[in-house]
């Protein structure tokens, strides 16, 4: 009888000091994956969970059935939102380093995940994001100043300083309140979609979760309920290959794709190049069409790479080769869409640089305005007694009492 050969603990191939190397990553060419009709039988679409849907090739040329054929204007709008997201992120990290707030999380390299989805969804569709989909708000033209006010917990922060930076909420923008507890929004999104279905409301829900957080129970609840009740929801898994310091193998990626998780529930599942704006747009549209047609949920794995640290509290050089991000073979979503647009002769290096500058100015102006309402360190703008509000709709006696005890 064989002996079990010890406990298997997945380990990334490379650690600090190693040369970045993605040569074992098989990347299929763009355009080869077929696009089934939205009402195809789920069991005929199983292979999509193991594929990688790509539209843009390495030269920025669009290929294949998933090509969404968006107008240059819409593409430029997408490019702009991704660039604005990046500009916003980089400023916010800078102000965090300056001590003006406690914490920040970038989405660098993953901007297409949120922005392309936002552009493919209807404005009224409801999003249940994680902390790394600030691109949704930006793509929905939500004011940067409002976002910054939240990051600063300043006097104009609509959340009254209650949440850590980047835990935005905007009912108006269809952006659900970010939770610090991983995964919880995923199963809530399905409940929202069930309610919408029960009202025959044409709006659908979309949810995002990180590769690491798929290990939480809520991921399973979401898939179960979405499948049982055929809820009109798009379940996105953002596989950026890292949790904090632990790589995606610790979340199960050694043995299967995350898209494949949908198969056990008969949920059509697509795996897509998450750095390809056109591909993300196309799969989101396809899933949204399915949901709106009453055909139920779709799972989308967005294969991408977390190009920077997990948050400002993290230092990825402690656990992976520093230069890895630059070598990521699926490239950068902004650079790829830019080169596509240039290929279409709808864009140029000059326009790109000018836009970059304009967006930096826009972010700077917003930053100034937001800082005029205070920052975390000098806030004082929010009346401290408000910390007792909103625990309940009406303040119960014991909180009135405690507020008094607090001298507030």
């Amino acid at each position: 009888m064989n002996q079990a050969p010890g406990l298997h603990v997945p380990e990334p191939h490379l650690r600090p000091g190693d040369r970045p190397d993605f040569s074992d990553l098989a990347i299929p060419p763009a355009g080869i994956v077929p696009r089934p009709a939205i009402d195809s039988a789920p069991h005929d679409m199983r292979e999509l969970a193991y594929a990688l849907i790509r539209v843009l090739d390495d030269d920025g040329i669009a290929h294949g059935e998933w090509h969404p054929h968006l107008s240059p204007d819409r593409l430029i709008a997408g490019l702009r939102a991704m660039m604005l997201t990046r500009a916003y992120d980089s400023r916010m990290v800078r102000v965090q380093r300056q001590g003006k707030t406690s914490f920040y999380m970038k989405s660098t390299g993953e901007e297409a995940v949120a922005v392309a989805a936002a552009h493919a969804l209807d404005r009224a569709d409801m999003c249940f994001p994680t902390y790394r989909q600030q691109g949704l708000l930006i793509a929905r033209d939500w004011p940067l100043v409002d976002m910054m006010n939240q990051v600063y917990s300043n006097s104009h922060d609509r959340l009254k300083g209650r949440q850590m930076p980047v835990f935005y909420s905007s009912r108006e923008a269809g952006f659900f309140s970010i939770s610090g507890n991983l995964g919880t929004q995923y199963s809530q999104a399905v409940g929202w979609a069930m309610a919408a279905a029960s009202d025959s409301d044409p709006r659908i829900a979309a949810a995002w979760i990180g590769d690491g957080a798929t290990a939480e129970g809520d991921f399973h609840y979401a898939l179960t309920f979405a499948s049982v009740y055929q809820a009109p929801v798009i379940l996105n898994v953002v596989n950026n290959q890292w949790a904090i310091s632990s790589y995606t193998g610790i979340a199960g990626s050694e043995q299967a794709t995350f898209a494949a998780r949908g198969l056990g529930f008969g949920i059509p599942a697509l795996r897509v190049d998450g750095n390809d704006f056109l591909a993300v747009h196309a799969v989101t549209s396809w899933a949204a069409e399915r949901a709106r047609a009453g055909l139920g949920p779709t799972l989308i794995e967005l294969f991408t790479y977390r190009a920077e640290g997990h948050s400002t509290s993290d230092d990825p050089s402690r656990y992976r080769p520093v230069a890895e991000a630059g070598e990521w073979p699926l490239g950068d979503p902004i650079a790829r869409l830019k080169s596509h647009l240039i290929g279409l002769q709808a864009w140029s290096d000059e326009r790109h640089t000018a836009l970059e500058q304009a967006l930096a100015d826009e972010v700077r102006a917003a930053g100034k305005e937001a800082e005029s309402f205070g920052t975390l360190q000098d806030s004082g703008g929010i009346p401290p007694e408000t910390m007792f509000d909103d625990v309940y709709r009406d303040m119960p006696a014991h909180l009135v009492d405690q507020r008094r005890q607090a001298g507030l």
Partner: protein
């Protein structure tokens, strides 16, 4: 007015609101076609349709999560956790999400959900069908916790819960579903028929939260109780002849501290009775509050008569249950100081 058992009153509360408010949705394990393992939702699917009253997967976390999402949409979901002992898989959604959604968004989102669940022992359910976990949730800011002791209150409180814009845990004393029970498990069971608190209006009415009910006026000692223990306390008062003032808290959070404090100021003595394990149970909070607010009025230490700090053992449920003998002895002790 029809006489209703507690289970019928609970059913009626949901029926009334399903009829009046199209945003109400009722779901949980076995609540649809079957009508619930305790029959709380009997007939509701048939009457209101399966898109509004339906079965859910065995996934308490998923059930509460779905309810939160529906609440965000604009529904008023009422979910059943089949036994309070099975609420734990939903803890994260309850504590991290339902309780905090309004706060963390400064009121932009809120969570108008009701979580119904039978609690307590007395049906030989052993350690996984007998628990009283209320003390875990009363620790959590943002949740409301309500426990009725009779059909009339059950319906009025449940309607308030369903109409409340905040998340409410509605724990139902399962041993009272079909009749009042004073802890004398060896006597014949009685039914709600003929009991004054079983006269339940057929239509809509509410009992507001935060208003305790004086179940028995008295001058010797204040007994704080809720759910099944109200009946046990009443029996103990009668059997010992001690003129206890028995207060039925009805809602633990919010708590009617005024009524409690007024009573203890009157009686000078206080006792707390619950079925949950003692340490860090809700009785601890009550004792802490009473000594804070009534220190100079108290003539004796506040006693707690509770379930022991063990799981609920199948074969010894009556040794575990704080029945009228134990409550009576405690009354005598408190009076003897």
């Amino acid at each position: 007015m029809p006489a209703m058992s507690m289970i019928e009153a609970i059913n009626s509360a949901m029926d009334v609101l399903l009829t009046q408010d199209s945003s109400v949705m009722v779901f949980g394990q076995d609540v649809g076609y079957f009508g619930g393992v305790f029959r709380a939702t009997e007939g509701l699917q048939h009457k209101h349709g399966k898109a509004r009253v339906f079965d859910a997967p065995i996934s308490e976390g998923g059930i509460v999560a779905a309810a939160i999402g529906m609440g965000a949409y604009g529904k008023r979901p009422v979910v059943e956790i089949q036994f309070a002992d099975y609420i734990y898989p939903a803890t994260d959604q309850l504590i991290s999400e339902a309780a905090r959604l309004r706060y963390r968004t400064a009121g932009e989102w809120w969570c108008p959900i009701t979580v119904r669940s039978p609690y307590g022992g007395g049906i030989y359910g052993g350690q996984t069908h007998s628990q009283s976990p209320e003390g875990i949730f009363t620790h959590v800011a943002g949740l409301k916790t309500v426990i009725p002791s009779n059909p009339y209150d059950a319906k009025g409180l449940l309607i308030s819960a369903m109409e409340d814009d905040d998340p409410v845990l509605f724990f139902e004393p399962k041993r009272l579903y079909n009749g009042p029970f004073d802890g004398h498990h060896d006597r014949p069971v009685s039914s709600w028929a003929g009991h004054p608190d079983a006269e339940v209006p057929a239509g809509h009415y509410r009992i507001p939260f935060g208003q305790a009910r004086i179940a028995r006026e008295g001058s010797d000692v204040t007994v704080l109780a809720y759910g099944t223990m109200v009946h046990v306390a009443l029996a103990a008062a009668q059997e010992t002849g001690i003129d206890a003032e028995v207060i039925d808290l009805r809602s633990l959070a919010p708590l009617d501290l005024d009524t409690i404090v007024a009573s203890v100021h009157k009686t000078g003595r206080c006792m707390v009775v619950h079925e949950a394990t003692r340490t860090c149970g809700f009785g601890a909070e009550l004792a802490a509050l009473v000594q804070e607010h009534c220190f100079f009025a108290l003539e004796a230490p506040i006693e707690r008569v509770t379930g022991w700090d063990t799981p609920y053992p199948h074969a010894f449920e009556w040794e575990y249950f704080p029945g009228p003998r134990r409550v009576g002895e405690a009354l005598l002790r408190v009076m003897s100081v």
